[in-house]
Symmetry: D3
């Protein structure tokens, strides 16, 4: 059941039973064919779709549309926070949610670069409150679907690659520029690390994206399709709704 925090009057809140959901996106280059707001646009649509599917009352906080993206700042249009500021900002925001009486809070991340900072936010909240906020990077919920439907090999589903491009073609076709896709290679990576969204990496690194590709993308947009995007998005919305309902009834 979808509820918007922002549209509720102070008199009409009912926190005790609800699951709060915060979508965290970002703003940085997604090649020359996807808008810089891709991650936040997807994330916000996803949490709305999941909330509609969930049985639980889901209270959507105002979405966070700027994240941690210095690895993209060599390209135009990048808005990025420092991790320290992002940590404090989200910590204060989530504390407000808890201080209002909410006891279940799910952070839905749609930008890889945010993940480490968001984990530290969850740690800090967990250490201060007797609640268990959760963090999920949405594609981690649909690794199976992605594996089944992907056309690209490893390295084809990275930043602005087959996966994200498909989802955008499904959700926002008017914002996608397929004529710029061209033929792009999958990103190679090495034996310890691949930038594919679904890789399991032995090491953690930071890499400015101009080193992957001079145009900024990682992966193969030319293999994307709105049809695949629909499959990915709907699977993610379903899984996220299931997680929300599970969370409401189980202590983590």
């Amino acid at each position: 059941m979808l509820l918007y925090w922002y549209e509720t009057t102070a008199a009409d809140f009912a926190f005790a039973d609800a699951v709060g959901v915060l979508s965290i996106g970002s703003c940085e280059q997604h090649g020359d064919y996807l808008p810089v707001g891709t991650d936040g646009l997807i994330g916000w649509r996803l949490v709305q779709a999941a909330a509609e599917r969930a049985e639980s009352p889901v209270l959507l906080l105002p979405p966070q549309q700027v994240g941690y993206s210095p690895h993209h700042r060599a390209f135009p249009g990048c808005l990025t926070l420092s991790q320290e500021t992002m940590f404090r900002y989200l910590l204060e925001l989530c504390q407000c949610a808890f201080d209002n009486g909410l006891t279940r809070l799910l952070l839905v991340n749609s930008h890889g670069g945010n993940q480490s900072c968001l984990q530290t936010v969850v740690n800090e909240l967990g250490a201060r409150y007797d609640y268990r906020p959760l963090l999920v990077r949405y594609w981690d919920l649909i690794a199976d679907t992605a594996a089944e439907r992907r056309s690209s090999g490893s390295g084809g589903m990275g930043h602005a690659g087959e996966f994200e491009t498909s989802v955008m073609q499904y959700l926002y076709p008017e914002l996608v520029r397929p004529e710029r896709f061209g033929q792009r290679p999958a990103a190679a990576g090495n034996r310890y690390h691949s930038p594919d969204l679904f890789a399991r990496n032995a090491v953690y690194q930071y890499k400015p994206f101009q080193e992957y590709d001079r145009r900024g993308n990682v992966g193969q947009p030319q293999l994307a399709s709105a049809e695949k995007g629909e499959a990915f998005f709907l699977a993610a919305a379903d899984q996220l709704a299931k997680l929300i309902d599970f969370y409401r009834h189980n202590r983590f």
Copy 2:
């Protein structure tokens, strides 16, 4: 000319000629008849309307929908930042805009509680960059219109009063609950300070809003109307568009 930062691809930005506009709202009680997101909802609609009216290319940054509102935290639904975090957050955001090559940045504030912090942000930006970011509290642009059209006396156009309620009735009638307006008094204030939006006060103070009214509003929603709201909103959009065009052609 309206442009959305978030919807632009990295390859399509043209910063040099544009005026960047950042809408800063907030999230806190607006009585029991307006949604907590009132300020941000109005602000975001306003900058869109002004951008459409302006001759200059106007690049809208993702709107800031949470602000500084601890004076409302006794009521449900309040999301508030500390001033220190808000300062750092907006500073980093605006620095990104400048670092991208934008040279004109206008902060449009639609929540009184944000103003002091936003002034410190403008100071810091001005001290670090050779640009002149501007800050405007939107109602300061239409003091004349407000004076002409208001039905309430002094103290009737405060927080969630005749003015804001009118604008919400015009923009978001479905989110307004007129049946809860009742008959409310204007806020008295004293010889040094009035909480009316259009008062010119000799002193600066901080006051938790439960001290104005146990339901949180300041002013008289029962005097509001969608018609007045339309007049206020259109005047503000016009004036803001004029300011944007003036700013584009004149160094402050």
Copy 3:
């Protein structure tokens, strides 16, 4: 009734009934004819004069003689804090006052550049304590007197202009160098902003003062006189004393 915090023994404090007053000045160029300490010198004399005139017991905290002045740092003699440090510093100072049992605290600002930061201090104190600290920029108390007595038009009473120069000629004639006044123009400003102390501006900006004038002043010292300075100062002292007494007996 004037009391100096610094000169009192620990055994002789009586906080409960007193109004605490903190004068905040600054240290930056005031043209080549006024000392850099102009704002703090005026402020400190003013709070002493007001305390003498007030019926309430007035406890003067040690004056703050350095403020926020980066817009003057292109000129010699500038001492300036960052806003973040000034915020923390004054917050801690005012907290000590409250923690000692004082319940009324009035910040008297005599430097325009300080105002935004001081407002954030008042906000933070108000959010932490159940007291209502007040902030006043002293000239806001005597807009009428200034309008009546000024010789200059708009833009003549800015930084080191007719107003401040007059007050310094009254209070510290030995520190003023009239032979350097020359004939200076009023500052023009634009339709949205004027740097005159008594202007009501629609927008907020930050501007390095070398952009107003290569010598740093804004306004017309050649129109100043000790006689006018006396009128301004005495009016301000009277009004400030009245505010103190009103504050003592009324909850803001």
Copy 4:
């Protein structure tokens, strides 16, 4: 080739060719049968063993023996930093290494709770320097060996479980108290999260360890053996040496 930073004279450093390695441990309860320093003791021994095996010159920085462990503070002996302080501390330490001329820096983490904060450190270093520091959680290098040799099922190799206890029995048998092992269950987890070291979890959470077990452990020490510990440790040392040599010759 093993080199100790601490034991080298200023005149004898040769940074350009070396791989710097920083071991980060922690200090918190490991049940009642392992010492609180377990993670740091293992980590420090491991980086020494790997350095000896590597062909590259390996410069060991002084080990970091305190980490992020608030989830263990309900038990005696916990020393923990805040994430903010740990971030700043390690950032400054690693910056010194880079500023000395080192270009390759490998952070070896031996405590799960540190990982998020360490990732933010790697991000920040990567964003500031044109180097690629790496972070590895040592057990991520030997998932295969662990899977082959483990006796416990999922949930048996968590904090102070079969894995860590085995390694301690191999390295520091005198510090292990097998008589206190008893018969302990594997930790169940749920469909989204398991505390097993080798689980791949869909969600991220923070959980105080008294909620796993009143004695603080997660997993089954009674299944541990020095023989398995030797296998785990030697595999980790080999893999870490290989990673070091790979890192020296390849840009990540």
Copy 5:
């Protein structure tokens, strides 16, 4: 040669040849017989006297009248900063002095509790600039005179003891309340630490002053005299003037 920073116009500064001097005092109980501002009152008079005696041009910065005094906060009238804020505040202030072109800066401390923080300020300034700011605790310059003239034994010249009381009787007799002196004991200390101003202690500790004496003083005011105070003050002014002149001509 005495020059006041605050009273100089921007056009009249001559930094290159001057020694900048900053007096740092404090504000906390000095028993029931000395004012809370004792340290700052003495310090400010002292740097004026030394500047008059010095051959060098001495530029006095606005005095710092609040310091670090939490060990006195159990008594009325205490104003204290945190060390972190004091560090940042003084760092910024001193940086302004250096950024103005001053190359010699002497911090004169008249409150024991400030010393550690001031040392960290000197460290930070020294690490950032190629200048050598100096810090002196004024009584360290006149250990010989104090030893010759003191009537009390060890422990008699602590906080508000024979030494400080004498100086205040010389400088500000109207602020001293001798009728409250009574007969007070010297503070004993132990083999590792004595609170006497002139003790050389093997260990460093922090001690709230109510643990020395319920009235807050350490030492014996009843042994003080204005005559001794004159001797102490004049010796300190002479020694400080000598240090200033030595500093001007020698690189530390």
Copy 6:
């Protein structure tokens, strides 16, 4: 009685009766003949030796092997923290110790550059807790022994001089390079300041060590001997043990 925090299980701690001891060293050049870890190597051995000699149970915290050393950063091998980070780091570490139930905590400093920051840590701890943490710079305990046994005059026992070199020759002869000693002069200092470890200085300053000597040392290693080192070390261990036992039985 020596106990290692790190090697104790959570079940075996007994804080109430113990004295906690934290050794704080550093990592910076000690000439070309001593390792960069000299201070931490000495400090850690010293606290172990003292703990063995003490009658009290002594709980050794993990040693801090990096300190504040920017005055050495012109030389290779320097690892240094900022004072702000060191302050926060040690504050959090010591707070954990107190929060565990320890009531006596002794900080043993073996690097001069750390002292100011450590004093601020002791201040902050003392202001927050009702305990009396102590700080000792170890050589301050054996001024007599040093005076008796030293061969050098004033300025011969500075950084990496006769004193520290002797102790290292006793403790770690394999890490000392006597063939590089040569004939080095004592450091002159001036009438206000000498860099000799045992000087009592009237002023405090910060000085980059390349200004003392292009090789970084202060003092005369060629006068060192393992025999003297043994005398210094054993005297320090004895005195430190005595201090520990005194501290256990007396409130400071």
